[in-house]
Amino acid sequence: MNTLLILSALGVIALFAEIFRFRKGLFPLILLGLAAAFIFTANQYNHPHVFFGMMNFDNYAVIFSCSILVIAFLWFMMAKNYFLQETSVTDHFSLILFSLVGAVVMVSFSNLTMLFLGIEILSVSVYVLAASDKSNVMSNESGFKYFLMGSFATGFLLFGITLIYGVTGSFDLATIHTQLTTTNEKGLVLAGILLLLVGLSFKSSLAPFHFWAPDVYEGAPTTVTTYMATVVKTAAFAAFFRLFSTCFTAAGNWSDILWWMVVLTLFIGNVSAVRQKSLKRLLAYSSVAHAGYIAIAIVSMSATSASAIFYYTLTYSISSITAFTILFIVSRYKGSKDISAFEGMSKANPLLAFAMTVAMLSLAGIPPTAGFFAKYYVFLTAINHGNTLLVLLAVIAALIGIYYYFRVIIAMYFKPEQQLVPIQVGPLHRTVLIITTVLTLLLGLFPNLVLGWI
């Protein structure tokens, strides 16, 4: 609860900072606040705290909140410079902070009301952020598409919640769980579950509800895209899993549908990325594909699913931050987000190229990076659950993935250099990149560091 309070307070401060001409001090304050929120959250580990049946800060919630806070911390460091150039920096920061509140709610709800609110708090902020580059038609389009489809999907989500409520008479997860085991309204229940599945699949961009993702990711400002690919995705999957693992494990047979959706997602995401020229769009499709991998753990609902999702989202987010940060730096410098903008980078900026390589290897799932262990863990969970065929398909999809991630590496290391002038990397970005790269390798080599918690 403290987390929510701190984040909300920060948001409000940020909102008023403009008035009090507090722009300079705002950034350090936010970082401090996030650190404080992290400490308070971490303190609640093993001290579950239930907030009036609305929210339950169990270990699952704590771990995911911490993960989200860490990612947000890194994100702020990455995005600071971008927003400082904007006039309305404080608005943006407060939107982000509010959306973080939504994310924390999404990982800790114990009532469907809170789930709905969390999703909406998060989404509404992000709709605005996506469109925040006002003069850019792409950004407008991105925000508009996101909004339109998002609110459309919200309708289904709500319908699902309503049907479940209609059958069980409660929004409380535990009650729903017990009610569902005894109810006779199988049809309504299943319809409700399926509509919830649709709503959450939309948020986590599973096919065939993924269409918004590539366009929105591409059009939104790179920093916002990063936020969507990391925090939003983490929160969406945390909520998805929390809901389905607490309520619907025994009710209705929804996993075969999800199975097909996962397969579709894996192949659509990976195959579509193959021919992309723009790295940003490529990463967007890759994000769709990764959603597929994460969802494997939900299909294979079992004891290790939660930690698999946690590990996957965390490492995926970290690698994504590396990739997007470098994309951000390069696109600012060269004015292009295409893969070709990276040509010759290994000569001009060997360390940048190295960091990008590590990120790409991690996204491709190659040892010793964290991305490998994440995939491994998901596959382990799936095979343990008997979903071997799904894993085999995922393996094939992963191979396709390697193909396009390596296009970036090849561009950096092989293609003749366009410009040998090294790109200047600011200290904040440098710090972010060092942290994320080290974390990618460290978590890959010692997954125990985080696995033990959940």
Binding site: E120, V128, T162, G166
Partner: protein, 105 residues
Amino acid sequence: MTDLKAIPLDWYILLSSILFCIGIMGVLFRRNAIIIFMSIELMLNAVNLLLVAFSAYHNDAAGQVFVFFTMAVAAAEIAVGLAILIVVYRNTKSTDIDVLNRLKG
């Protein structure tokens, strides 16, 4: 409240489903963004209706509380949506959604 219960629940479900579908159709077949927003509102209100009905049948106030949340959220959403639409309109001079297809492929 007794009046509400006099109507069979199935009818509520049917009605709101139909409303919901009309909303969907509106979203799908209209090009004007404003009308699409309205259709989405229709969908949300269909859900609200159902929620209230369920709430009544269960004798549980939570459902009605939820409706308030929904309405608040819907209002916020539409506000944001309209704001975005204004920005879009400034750049494209159109509220037709077909104009927005630069991002693709």
